[in-house]
């Protein structure tokens, strides 16, 4: 076993970086579920869409930041169309129908990716200012990954502030707790749902654009990440921001340190974590409703 502390510091940063990426992805999914009671399995595909848009926009303009800006917008617009065309009708259809329809959407997205961007995996480079490595307290770490950690922390703080300190946040929380009562109190629940859905999609798109300098984009990427994301949401507790935070950290660190400490069973570890949480806390660690 390695005794050098900087090695473990690097692995901790690895864990943090993965956690932040999982957070960006799962927070949209979990809040959409908490508020709309809607299981959107196509969320992972929206992440894939964000990745492809990020690459294409970066390639067209020669700037990473164009992709960074375009991906959340395009994915939010796509989410808007999905919501108006499909999700809104499916809201009352029950979880089984929702799962089936959004599962079908995944296949549609995968084929669309294939038609537009081809079968081959493609990638893009990190922006110049974040390429290379940085020295953090004597630990050398890829700068771009530090950027992901910082971005995740900023989004986390911003969401926490909006939810706890603003009127919109209060309305969202009211809607999560009891949407009928909130509607009686004059909250336009439908509009709140719509906003939250689009913001959740935008975050998935952002996660995709942020991920591509590290991971390549390929048609099945959304399907691959979906399982980790669902585990985050279930472990944390469906529908809560705190749950998404806790779940992301648990899954991110379990995957990272599992890979280092017990590589033989690393891929099983997150399922063990899931099973363990479900046995002792069937609703997850921080469920939206007690």
């Amino acid at each position: 076993m390695v005794t050098d502390w900087s090695y473990w510091a690097v692995q901790t940063l690895n864990g943090l970086q993965l956690s932040m990426l999982l957070f960006l992805l799962s927070v949209g999914l979990t809040v959409i579920f908490g508020l709309l009671h809607f299981v959107n399995l196509a969320h992972g595909a929206l992440y894939g869409l964000g990745a492809y848009i990020g690459i294409s926009a970066a390639a067209a303009t020669g700037s990473y930041w164009a992709g960074f800006a375009a991906a959340p917008i395009v994915v939010a617009l796509t989410g808007m169309l999905l919501y108006l065309g499909l999700m809104k009708r499916m809201r009352q259809a029950g979880p089984m129908n929702q799962v089936l329809v959004t599962l079908g959407l995944i296949f549609v997205f995968v084929d669309v990716f294939r038609l537009i961007w081809g079968d081959l995996a493609i990638g893009t480079a990190a922006p110049a200012i974040f390429s290379g490595r940085s020295d953090v307290f004597g630990v050398v770490y890829p700068t771009y990954r530090l950027f992901i950690i910082a971005l995740g922390a900023i989004v986390m703080a911003a969401l926490a502030l909006v939810l706890s300190r603003t009127q919109l946040g209060a309305m969202i929380r009211a809607g999560v707790d009891n949407d009928q009562m909130a509607a009686c109190l004059g909250v336009n629940v439908e509009r709140i749902f719509f906003i939250v859905f689009c913001v959740g999609c935008a975050l998935a798109g952002l996660a995709g654009a942020v991920a591509v300098p590290v991971f390549s984009a390929h048609p099945d990427m959304g399907t691959e990440i979906l399982i980790s994301t669902l585990i985050v949401v279930v472990v944390g507790g469906m529908g809560s921001l705190r749950g998404a935070v806790a779940g992301s950290f648990l899954v991110g660190f379990a995957q990272t340190f599992g890979a280092v400490l017990v590589p033989e069973v690393a891929s099983l570890l997150i399922y063990a974590l899931l099973a363990g949480v479900l046995v002792f806390r069937p609703t997850g660690l921080f469920p939206a409703r007690a």
């Binding site: 692995q11 970086q17 081959l120 590290v214 991971f215 691959e224 995957q255 891929s267």
Partner: protein
């Protein structure tokens, strides 16, 4: 009465018309390739290479190609092989990409005595303990690509190597063959990691662990999107500064190297084909592929081409039915774009050169392959094959 006669004449005319193209197409080839899914790009390249070889020989009109999509699923591959052999009655099968699919169809082609020209699947057993006279491989075996790198890297002064590969049969065979040869040469394997196959996107934790062992070099087998992620992340973690990245050449396949970008520069790998080989055969081939398909050939294009070429040569030698084709295939010998090739009659695996190349930035700024070493006529040991 008149009606009946007219009817008969019409029927006869129709029958003749229907059988006319069939008579012109003397042979039926069943393509057993992934046309969808993660390996679709490989299947496409192989298919294109095969068609090119037929056209070059002027035999495109004599051969009917029936394409079936195996995806990467062994049961699907077997079902499609059954359909091609029993229903379409093909003379020869070409494919598959996945070793799993080859394993699944092995007994079937053996029992039905249908020759299959393996155009990718690299599992050692197919031309080792599970060999049959009906499996002829013109691509490579997992061991064949990696074994020569053991001695070669030792000769370059590399002593301590860390290895990584995805945790599945091909990954273990490729790394196993390299590690055995490297240790036999006198080198030391300072650490090994097999990462979960197709679920690992972030190699960060593994790369940090590899870095901590301070190796002279890291030797890997990765392909497809894993290869892209791995090479980019290897560079991001700064391993390129301390340990050269080595591996089987799939790591820098021309299909993926553009997506890897500058991170791929300096990688040293071995493979049975690189598009920059300076031989007249290869120059002609590269030009033909660029003219016909408007892109640079990959190792998969060559594998498809050689599958087609060996089929053509077998036919030219007078083989007409399945049995005769199976007998003729192992005797085929010619100079391929990848260099001189022949089939080892003891295993039915191809004997070919291995090219050790470095990925460098070319004059036009695009990444290209610079040949730095050739290991000639690499032949697999018999590995328990009894024909």
């Amino acid at each position: 009465m008149l009606k009946t006669i007219t009817g008969a004449v019409v029927c006869a005319t129709l029958a003749v018309a229907a059988s006319a193209p069939a008579a012109a197409q003397d042979y039926k080839v069943g393509m057993l390739l992934p046309y969808s899914g993660v390996y679709a790009a490989l299947g496409k390249d192989i298919d294109e290479g095969f068609v090119l070889a037929l056209e070059e020989a002027g035999m495109a009109d004599q051969v009917e190609i029936i394409r079936e999509d195996t995806e990467v699923k062994p049961p699907v591959g077997l079902a499609k092989a059954r359909k091609l052999v029993l229903e379409d009655q093909v003379d020869v099968l070409v494919g598959p990409v996945s070793s799993g699919v080859l394993g699944a169809v092995r007994d079937f082609v053996d029992q039905t005595k249908t020759p299959i020209i393996v155009a990718n699947a690299g599992n050692d057993e197919a031309t080792g303990e599970n060999c049959t006279p009906y499996i002829v491989r013109v691509s490579f075996s997992n061991s064949q690509v990696n074994r020569p790198m053991g001695q070669w890297m030792y000769d370059q002064g590399i002593r301590k190597v860390y290895t990584m590969a995805p945790d599945y049969a091909a990954g273990r065979q490729q790394i196993g063959a390299f590690a055995e040869a490297f240790k036999a040469a006198g080198g030391e394997i300072v650490g090994q990691e097999f990462t979960p196959f197709r679920t690992t996107q972030d190699f960060g934790p593994y790369l940090s662990a590899a870095q901590a062992t301070e190796p002279d070099a890291v030797y890997v087998f990765y392909a497809g999107s894993e290869a892209i992620n791995f090479v980019k992340q290897y560079d991001a973690f700064g391993l390129n500064d301390t340990a050269t990245l080595h591996g089987s050449g799939f790591i820098n396949s021309p299909l993926y190297v553009d997506a890897q970008g500058p991170a791929a520069v300096g990688t040293v790998a071995s493979l049975h084909y690189i598009p920059t080989l300076d031989t007249p055969e290869n120059k002609t081939f590269v030009e033909a592929v660029q003219k016909r398909y408007e892109r640079t050939p990959s190792e998969y294009t060559v594998q498809g081409y050689d599958a087609g070429r060996s089929f053509v040569e077998a036919i030219k030698s007078g083989a007409t039915d399945k049995e005769a084709i199976a007998k003729a295939l192992p005797t085929v010998e010619y100079v391929s774009p990848r260099g001189p090739v022949s089939i080892d009659p003891a295993t039915n695996n191809i004997v070919q050169n291995m090219y050790i190349y470095e990925t460098v930035e070319g004059d036009d700024g695009k990444l290209t392959q610079k040949l730095i070493g050739t290991v000639e006529n690499v032949k697999d040991p018999v590995n328990g094959c009894e024909m």
